[in-house]
Amino acid sequence: MSAELPSHEGALVSLARDGESSAREELARHVGRSAYVFALQLTERPDTAVDVAQDSLLKFFQHLDRFDADRPIEPWLYQIVRNRVRDLMRRERVRRHESLDAWLEAGHPESADPSADPAANAERSDLGHRIWRAVSQLSQSHREIFVLRDHHDLSYREIAEVLSIPQGTVMSRLHAARKSLREILIAEGEARGGPPGRRGDGDE
């Protein structure tokens, strides 16, 4: 999962609004990292992701005074990032990398939770790599909803807020995205001569 904002983010926001320099720096680090990862997942371009993250960070702090410190930061932040990416893609014709190799070199997914069982860990890591390659082939709307839920761990209500869609639409669109991903992995598995997940399914 991406770098999570700390559990005390409400206090952090309050202190940052009061001009506490340490709080502002800490908040900037967390917000910058999260914004970068989401932008990278949407654009597959590290240089563009850095620019988007910096722009988003600037906008975040410009409007921090109006933000309700009791609410989670992520939905608001991801909405800013998403809008910026959409603007870029529309105005500057930024296109995602077609090359999957470029994706892996730029933002190489790594296991965040090393398992005690090396074999299981390696299998999960391998599956993670194949999933992120498959994510590159999803449509923009499927990619957005998939990463927001399955990587950034947003609730359906928060996803609805970020994507500006009814909450009732989230589940159906997310399921369609997951099914598309599954189909891509199945096709890839067939091309490789095996099932999409691990070899010899059915033991779960």
Partner: protein
Amino acid sequence: MAMSDLQHGFDEAMISGYLDGELTQGEEQRLSLHLEICAGCRNMTDELRRFKEATMATEFRVPDDTQWDETPRGRGSGFLRNFGWLILLVWVVGTLGYGLWQVAIDVEDLFQVVIVFGLSLGFGLLFLSVLIDRLTTRKTDPYRRVQK
């Protein structure tokens, strides 16, 4: 409603809601019962769960934290700002140096002495006060104790 929904008698998207804990208690019970008897849906649920866990367990490398300056600026404005600071620094050093040299060669002019030494003293005291504040804040920052 998709063909598969008609076959199973419920909206297939509920499998995702089930995995994410977003169903009502009634919906969850209904789906659990269905999964006990339907191998196809059970396999899909298991597979999607495994994908979700693998996706959650990945992390992306991020650039150095210096990228996340609190007030990020574009390359153009950043260059202009640095250039502006450089010009200002050269001007201050040049002006003060010239003033001190003038005073050194003509100590008779009391007005020049007041101007140059007053300016130097003012800048020096301001710099000292900022330095003291920074050092005090670094030692007594209450936020450090709170959040770390």
